[in-house]
Symmetry: C2
Subunit: 788 residues, 2 copies
């Protein structure tokens, strides 16, 4: 039960906190004289003052109190720092716990180490003022705000032993992604998952503005969190000793409640959604800073956000204020002669992996176990010959995923914003239902597929799902995100940031072990939006991905079910990538048997001999494609051309792995010029039918020798309510326009092909008329088969 | 005061509601026999059943009740439909009010008109199943969810007379953007702005899942909205007549409260933030549909989301159920012999512009008044010669904006996520402070710049700001969005959708009048992230923009303050575009005096003679640039080259209007090939220093004759904590690497330039060493001036 802190405890906690605050302040200012063993002089000050003080003392306050709890109760706890630029707090604590020096031996536990530690902070080539991958113990980038809480829940899923303390900044709390992520508590099962303890850090201010949540009434604020489903506890004040007592009492109570919720669920089988505790911690922004400077309020105001006193090098009075401020933490009581924290304080920190800065879950690759994967070949689509059978590609994938769930019941989650069934992955429900801790009604038994233990995650928030998945992967798990292609843009920025995280880890943070790749399936794609229309037509997410580092990005466009299986299996085995797979949900023509698909996907790009007729010779034209629907149209165009021009030599090339088109100098998957030239020829026309915006292909392939003959079709923002063929024709990716493209570009067809071209134009008119009249495409379009 | 509805009122309201429901159902199913004057036969059914029933009856229920209020109290009201695919309700009501037939005379108020109205719904070439620009009275696209409430608040700002009813779907309510937009009430001033009446439509289900808010306890739900600062009123049930009474009573009360809040603020000057009313309307999903079908629950379950009975054409029993369902609305009591709604029901709808489907604010271009713009030339930067003075470009822009505020106190808003001061636009506060209805503390007087009447909007939610701005523009106002460049990706998808909206309006909806352009200023750009590092480095937002229709997108990269002024003025005058301006906030070199800047920006791309030395001849190399920082580096490279190789003929070209690089066939701003060739030459090397990802330039310019000689430098995802020069060197956009590029590409320098190249490499090493040591760039870099 709760006991009050003894005076000795209090003194220890306060000392440790002062040490953390001293270090945070030192980081901002000092390049020399790190422990103030000499009177502070201008020469000790950094040449450029960059960094953030505002949330540091509050965050260190939380950290030191969590340390006590971890220590006393042997907790397995992670700390997630939401307030963007509060890294000095996390850095200080990682240093005090020794972790920092273990990871970066040049910043050891002595005066010289401390000096280096200060100097490297927020200076060129050094460490950031927000939490970055270089910071041990962290899984949350502090650069872009809004994801701390979803990361925390993602980390807690399937880690029953873990408590994740998520410190949410009140600035961050204004973002949309954060505002809805409070509802994550409707998806966390106290029996199988760990706990999240959110602490809303009511600092009061952002960069230059008050925060909304700090300027509403206390009763509104409490109502809000009761409404979100929590039991809020308020810790408020600015007198350290009183605050220590209150915080300790409150944290004790929260952990007690968490344990009691878990016991009820685990021992008594009580699976009702609990009211999890959360803390509202209201402390002054820049707590313990000077109250004012030159008549301007500092502590408790936005002026404490960054470096509160800027001209200390040139202004002796301000230097004196800084000196007094640094001294106010009494470093001489905290660090011994060599510059190491006194043993009595060190004893207060948890040890080894119990340190939040060293929790192995924050370096999840260390704990990652590969998935137990069923043989994807068992799910293969079978058919007698290419281009004759229709099948839903994602339907087949769903069956594979179902068995991935069966084999990995607590190590794999599938995310989808209310679209998993719509994307035809519904076979997964046979193995795992949708996580749902909110109320369940009798009618749900008829197909809602809800379960408290489910591992399919569905919430209408792409942000929350992406945040959960990132947290889950970063702590060593596996998963897949499925979403409508157009709305993947909602998480452009999150995925950008995750790519940046992965790239840093791969290239500059050797101690971070590889984590499972972030796998994103884009379905319900641009070409099949019959009744959704223009708003649902946007294949540009892969353009965003193509700007990120080639070391961490992969884009796959499997043309059929067997290729999709092969690609998905590959992605599930891979680490440290962002794999984007584009595959529509509707039934589509199948092309490759399993062996061919495996070979094709392994190469990433290949010549389809069964559809080509240029064997052993130079073709007249290359018909290339990347994507499912566009490949069908391209193949149908080839059939038309072969029927009308039996002598025309056509080479059919299909691209699965989009970055094959880049030169090998630009991407590890890039084809050599020699291979590219031999596949696409040096001088023949290439009619490339592309799933996305055509310019992306040019962006990737402009360096290639035959680029001048590369003619790309793709989505050019021409859409509306259309039948599939109407949409294809509007964007000229349809079989008829492709055939016309060939006639226009192969010199010897320009005379002989004139009548065929007229016929093709008539076909377009006829088919458009039919679709307009009937609201459907003609059966000869929807049921078209490869005729050779 | 509130009076109960009389039986006659009740009957009228219910009849009108039945008419709307009948129409919604007819849209989903009927291609013939629109008023069921013959027994329903399979031939009357549409060939393909596409559309959404789920939220239609609930939304029509709201609409008809609002009609009564508008009528009785002569309200000016807009209706915003949040539930994505609930367009049948809005369509039905626009039709019943006559607006639809006025706008689309082929869908008149008779049987044939009704038949066409039904047929065009959700079929190729027809109208969407979510609200689209083609729908009169709507300003909210229903394709992507999450923005209804921010649109509603945006519409209400500066329209004191207006009440915007925002129907929020409980699916949509799960999105991040929606979840935080409830806090918009902290930014709406009852004295100067209109009111927003949010109605959370607790339908219970999404596509295939229950909604979170429908599965938490009623007390949690109420707490949530009290926490958000509202007074929630619950209207719950499924018995129509009871629901009509409750809804009428509740709406009366809400309007009374709104009026009372407004009176207190406007007459009594009480400017405290009020508790605005909101309604929680809990009705069954698909209300009034059959309870069950083949043993599966329909009404009140997710199975009512789309078309609840799919096989009516082939299944006689189901056809019969549909027939009974249609008949249950008793169309014979509602429509006269010719198919027109009976007069007694028509009398219930508001008239003329009071109809929500005809509110002129929903076609804001009609009401738009051009801004009163001060002469931007008055804010010009002056200097003796190009390349010798440093000035903050956005600082200058801030002064211009300040006077835009002065001239347009109730017609212009500036949005920024806590970054307006950081982006150096703070001069605006002299004219208009930050809107803030939450608590204000005494210390705020010292620089927080808060005011209940402010028109600078700052909330840490890019989504909410973008939604407000869209709503504000769509109702006829003007504005500017300023944000950190990297985090513009947060609103990629919103801007995409707004581009699609504008494109449809421009090309297919002639009755929509042009609205003010969406102006986005990207500042704190990639090249100046000294202490923010890698996470803040992403210039890819303009890549996303470049995929949208050329008819609505513009990207400007003004190289200096005068160009920025000229561009900003141009954007503020323009309509129906998305204008993206990229301009960093730090002090940068100034190049063009005002007259030159105006000429340069009018052309969009131009030869800078003052920096070139190729007068009247063919140059050896073209040094091109687009962007502020990269132009400085390019010009500095030119200076180095001219010093070392006085005979080298260099042409300096600067691009302000990025889409000038596209062929004229692809973009209305595109240069003709002739102009492009004459500027960039047909065969000389072009060293193009670009602000963003280099591939974007290739994507735009790959069709140009001299593309083979186009060598682009730009951001290639190489970043970290860097000095500006370190970052530039890491990405090779710096003066030294550019000079090396020239030496490598101009044949006659390849021998003679060898020693200079060595010297340049040494320069790079020296400067990197200095920056590493000092944490700063050398003064000769930061204070560099054009030497000629």
């Amino acid at each position: 039960m709760a006991k009050e802190l003894s005076p000795l405890d209090l003194e220890g906690i306060d000392g440790y906190w002062r040490a953390a605050n001293y270090l945070s302040l030192g980081m901002l200012y000092l390049r020399e004289n790190p422990l103030l063993r000499e009177p502070l002089a201008p020469s000790h000050i950094k040449r450029r003052l960059l960094g953030h003080w505002g949330s540091d003392p509050g965050q260190s306050f939380i950290w030191v109190h969590l340390n006590r709890l971890i220590h006393e109760q042997n907790l397995n706890m992670m700390y997630i720092s939401g307030p963007g630029h509060g890294a000095p707090a996390s850095l200080a604590n990682a240093y005090l716990e020794g972790t920092y020096s273990e990871v970066y031996p040049d910043r050891g536990q002595d005066i010289e180490g401390l000096r280096q530690f200060f100097r490297k902070f927020s200076s060129p080539g050094g460490v950031g003022s927000h939490c970055t991958p270089e910071l041990p113990g962290s899984i949350n980038e502090g650069g872009e705000l809004g994801y701390s809480l979803s990361h925390a829940f993602g980390a807690a899923f399937d880690h029953p032993d873990l408590i994740v303390t998520a410190v949410v900044g009140d600035g961050e709390a204004e973002t949309g992604p954060l505002a809805t992520s409070w509802h994550s508590n409707k998806f966390l099962n106290p029996a199988q998952d760990g706990a999240v303890l959110p602490i809303l850090h009511l600092n009061g201010y952002k960069i230059a503005n008050p925060t909304i949540l700090s300027r509403i009434s206390p009763s509104e604020l409490k109502s809000l969190f009761i409404g979100y489903g929590y039991s809020p506890y308020v810790v408020e004040g600015d007198i350290p000793m009183e605050m220590h007592r209150t915080m300790a009492r409150t944290l004790d109570r929260c952990i007690r409640e968490i344990r009691s919720i878990q016991r009820r669920a685990r021992d008594a089988g009580d699976c009702r959604r609990p009211r999890w505790p959360m803390i509202i911690l209201r402390t002054p922004k820049g707590w313990t800073a000077p109250k004012t400077l030159d008549g301007h309020k500092i502590e408790g105001f936005w002026r404490a956000h960054q470096v509160p006193i800027l001209d200390v090098e040139s202004n002796p009075a301000h230097l004196k204020i800084l000196s007094e401020w640094l001294s106010s933490y009494r470093p001489e009581e905290l660090f011994d002669q060599n510059g190491q924290l006194f043993q009595k304080f060190r004893d207060l920190a948890p040890k080894g992996n119990k340190r939040m800065s060293a929790n192995p879950l924050a370096n999840g690759g260390l704990l990652r176990k590969p998935l137990r994967l069923p043989d994807y070949r068992n799910y293969q689509a079978t058919f007698s010959k290419p281009g004759t059978k229709y099948l839903g590609n994602t339907t087949v994938l769903g069956e594979f995923f179902r068995d991935v769930f069966r084999e990995n019941p607590d190590n794999f989650r599938l995310m989808g914003p209310d679209e998993t069934a719509s994307n035809r992955l519904n076979a997964v429900y046979e193995a795992s239902q949708k996580a749902w801790m909110a109320d369940i009604l009798p009618e749900d038994a008829d197909g809602s597929e809800l379960s408290k233990n489910g591992h399919v995650m569905e919430m209408l928030s792409e942000h929350t799902l992406e945040g959960w998945l990132e947290g889950y992967l970063l702590t060593g798990r596996h998963g897949f995100f499925n979403t409508y292609e157009a709305f993947a843009h909602i998480i452009d920025s999150m995925v950008n940031q995750h790519a940046k995280w992965l790239e840093k880890c791969k290239t500059e943070v050797p101690w971070r072990a590889p984590i499972s790749s972030l796998n994103i399936l884009l379905s319900s794609t641009v070409w099949r939006q019959d009744h959704n229309g223009f708003t649902h037509e946007d294949p540009g997410f892969i353009d965003v991905i193509s700007n990120k580092s080639p070391y961490v990005t992969r884009v796959y466009l499997p043309p059929d079910a067997n290729c999709l299986l092969s690609v998905a299996d590959h992605c599930l085995k891979s680490t440290d990538y962002i794999n984007v797979i584009v595959a529509d949900k509707q039934p589509h023509l199948q092309f490759l048997d399993m062996d061919s698909a495996v070979r094709h996907c392994a190469k990433g790009v290949g010549l389809w001999e069964w559809a080509s007729n240029d064997t052993g010779s130079v073709p007249d034209v290359v018909m290339a494609s990347a994507g499912d629907v566009v490949t069908i149209e391209s193949i149908a165009a080839v059939a038309i051309l072969r029927e009308h021009f039996p002598d025309l030599k056509i080479r059919v090339v299909n691209v699965v792995d989009l970055f094959k088109l880049l030169p090998e100098s630009e991407h590890p998957h890039g084809l050599s010029d020699r291979d590219f030239d031999s596949l696409f020829t040096m001088d023949k026309p290439i009619i490339f039918n592309f799933h996305g915006y055509p310019s992306l292909i040019h962006k990737l392939a402009y360096r290639r020798k035959n680029h001048g003959n590369l003619h790309v079709r793709g989505y050019k923002e021409q859409g509306g309510l259309n039948t599939p063929l109407q949409l294809a024709i509007a964007n000229q990716i349809d079989r008829f326009n492709l055939a016309i493209d060939v006639i226009d570009r192969v010199p010897r067809l320009q005379c002989t092909g004139a009548h065929v071209k007229e016929w093709l134009k008539d076909q377009i008119t006829d088919h458009l008329n039919y679709a307009r009249e009937e609201g459907l495409d003609r059966p000869e379009i929807t049921d078209w088969k490869w005729p050779f």
